[in-house]
């Protein structure tokens, strides 16, 4: 996880792309939603990593 944080941080300055004239974006709360979605997907990815490791362990035992 720590490895990816700098990558995500690098993306931050580019987020000014969001449309400001649209009510969905004008109050800036869209970033909260974006962060939530990203956290959910990263969580799923970490779950997959764990599953992958467990299967690797089983393969090594066999």
């Amino acid at each position: 996880m720590k490895k990816f944080l700098p990558l995500l941080a690098m993306c931050l300055p580019l987020m000014g792309w969001a449309q400001n004239d649209n009510p969905m974006y004008s109050n800036g709360k869209i970033y909260v939603v974006v962060a939530v979605i990203a956290v959910i997907f990263v969580g799923l990815a970490l779950y997959l990593v764990q599953l992958d490791r467990k299967i690797t362990k089983l393969e090594n035992e066999k």
């Binding site: 990816f4 993306c11 792309w17 969001a18 974006v34 979605i37 992958d52 089983l58 393969e59």
Partner: protein, 215 residues
């Protein structure tokens, strides 16, 4: 670790598409408006599905050439993953259709073609489960897989383009290319497609390895 690079890359690309898909500037189109962002999520499901089915098809052919059961396990795992993507594409498409075309389901050739494709692939899973002998099962399902893949290409790739369709890029409707002038959509859409294909390959490989362990 070397074999895991594609997994990390896949996750990063999907995360990128989730973030930028919501934040990037999109063309202002009537009716679809902000829902044009579904291009990054809904359409990438279909691209990932076709890639999974193509890889499954390729492994089916390789099985017939080598009689190696590992190829058969790869083939079925990839088809299962492709099936998952097609259901996700179908359900997300239904939501999108409700708010742009006004109905959950229309008689659009692409929708009906997809429904037929899903039925063809469901028959593939039923066919597999109806046989006990591993070699016979693998051989017959590999042959059926080739048929199913060709049918998929016909139903979702060829027929919708020959008749009128509500989907962009079919039957005289413009594709995304024509109004995609600032490339704003493309720089999110292509990474999303590649990301989902890589993540799908990863999950399929987990299923494949589990199947190998179970035997």
């Amino acid at each position: 670790m070397k074999g895991s690079i594609y997994k990390v890359l896949g996750v990063l690309l999907v995360v990128y598409s989730l973030i930028y898909g919501l934040l990037t500037k999109v063309p202002d189109m009537p009716i679809i408006e902000e829902s044009i962002r579904n291009l990054f999520y809904h359409v990438s499901m279909w691209f990932a599905m076709v890639a999974m089915m193509a890889a499954s098809f390729w492994n089916a052919i390789r099985f017939l050439g080598t009689e190696d059961l590992a190829k058969d396990r790869r083939s079925i795992s990839l088809a299962e993953m492709g099936m998952f993507f097609s259901f996700m594409g179908l359900f997300t498409g239904m939501i999108w259709a409700k708010f742009t075309w006004g109905a959950w389901w229309t008689n659009d050739p692409k929708l009906n073609g997809t429904a037929i494709t899903i039925l063809i692939y469901l028959a593939y899973f039923v066919l597999r489960n109806s046989m006990d002998d591993a070699r016979k099962k693998a051989r017959i399902s590999a042959v059926y897989n080739i048929f199913a893949f060709v049918m998929m290409i016909v139903f979702i790739g060829i027929l919708p383009r020959m008749t009128d369709s509500l989907h962009p890029g079919n039957g005289g409707n413009p594709g995304f290319n024509s109004y995609d002038l600032d490339n704003g959509l493309r720089i999110v859409f292509y990474p999303a497609v590649i990301g989902w294909i890589l993540v799908g390959t990863w999950i399929a490989s987990l299923r494949y390895r589990l199947k190998a362990l179970q035997e």
